[in-house]
Point group: C2
Chain length 205, copies 2
Amino acid sequence: MTTVLLVDDHPVVRSGLRAVIEAGDALTVVGEAATGEEAITLAGHLHPDVVLCDLRLGSGIDGIRTTIALRALDPAPAVLILTTFDRDAEVLGAIEAGAAGYLLKDVDPEVIVQGIHRAAAGDMVLAPDLATRVLKGMRSPLPRLTDREIEVLRHLARGATNKEIARTLFVTEATVKSHLAHIFTKLDVDSRSRAIHVAQETGLI
Amino acid sequence: MTTVLLVDDHPVVRSGLRAVIEAGDALTVVGEAATGEEAITLAGHLHPDVVLCDLRLGSGIDGIRTTIALRALDPAPAVLILTTFDRDAEVLGAIEAGAAGYLLKDVDPEVIVQGIHRAAAGDMVLAPDLATRVLKGMRSPLPRLTDREIEVLRHLARGATNKEIARTLFVTEATVKSHLAHIFTKLDVDSRSRAIHVAQETGLI
DNA sequence: GCCGGCATCAGCCAAATGGATGATTCCTGG
DNA sequence: CCAGGAATCATCCATTTGGCTGATGCCGGC
C-alpha cells in the first residue's frame, strides 16, 4: 500500500484529490496539509511514500521551498508537484528542487493516480505536454537574471518609471537604465512592456 | 432536496466539490460540466436548483457568459460563482450577469454548503471579505472601457508597441494613441506599464 | 594577484511615448 | 431629427525610453 500526503491550500481541492486517490485500493491518503510548513512537519511524522504538493500555497513558503525541505527528510518522500500553471521557470525550479515530477491540475484523475504510482516507484513523472518543454528548457536555459535585476523587474512590472525605480532603490537613473539594458538583452526584448510580458509568462516574477 | 450542477474545468475540483456537497444529505449533485457550453446544455435538461460555476473555464466561454446564458433559462437556476481570484471587475461582472453570489475557492467546505442553501433560497451570497469591496465598487465603479479599448489594452499587455498595435488592428498609430490616451485617463495612469499593471490587478484583462 | 561578473554612474542620440487640441464619420438612443 | 459616444485620424511638442560606449569600484574564484 502506497501512502500519500496531500498539500494544497484549498480544502476543496484536497477533498477532490482524496476522493480521486482513494477510489482505487492501492493508495491511501495518510494526511493533509494546507501549508508548506504543515506539510514538512506532517511528513516528518507520517513518512509518506509520496507527497502531492501544490506549487502555490497561499501565504507561507511555496511549493518549491517545501519540496527542498521534504527532500531533506530521512526517509525522503517522492514529491509530486501538482499545479494549475505551466510556467517554465517553475517547472525547472521544481525539478531542480528534487521533485519527482510535475502534473497539471486539469488532467484526468487516473493520470494523477498513475503519476503517484510511478513517483513511488522512483520514476520521473511529467505531464506529456510539459516534457518537451522541460527538455527544451534544458537545452536553452532561461536567462539567469541577477537578484538586482529581478528587483528592478518587479518594479517594472508594477508600472514604475525609471525615475521612480531609481528613487526606490537609492541609485541614479543611469544605473536603472543599465540594469534594464541587461534585462532586455537577457530576455531578448526591446521595451519595458515586453520585458514585463515575458517575465510574467516564464514565471520569472 | 436541493439539486446542484457543478461546472469546473478541473476534474479534481469537481470531485472535491461533489464530496463536500454530498457529505450532508440536504444537497445532491445531479450533474457535472467541464465547460460553459456543456453546463448550459445540462442545466436545460436537468433543471438544477443551483449551478456552482467556476469563473475560469479554460477554453470556451467564461463563467460570466455562462451565467448570462443560465439565467436566461426557464426555470433559471441560481448561479453561484466559485473561483480562486477576487478581482474587482469580475465580481461586478458576475453580479451584473445575474449571479446569486460569489465565493472564493479557499473557503471551508461548510461555507460552500451554506452558500448553496442560501442561493437556493434566493439570498445573495458573498464571501465576507468581498462584500465590502463589492459595495465599494458600486460607489466608485470601475471605469468602463469600450470593447475597442479593451482590445488595445490586451495588445498593450502583450508588450506590443503602438506601431504593432496599429498594424494588427488595421488602423493608424494616431488612432492607437488616441485609444491609449482614453485608456490612460480612465485608469488614471500615465504610462503603458502602469496601465498594464492596473488592468491586471483589477481583472480588466 | 588577476580576471570576470556585478553594480554603479555618465553622456549622446534616435526613437517611442504621452499630452493637448481639434476634426470627421458613424451609429444609437431619446 | 439631433445630441452624444465611439472610432478614426492629424499635428505639435515635451518627456521618456532605449541603444551605444565607456568608466569605476568591489568581490569572489582560480
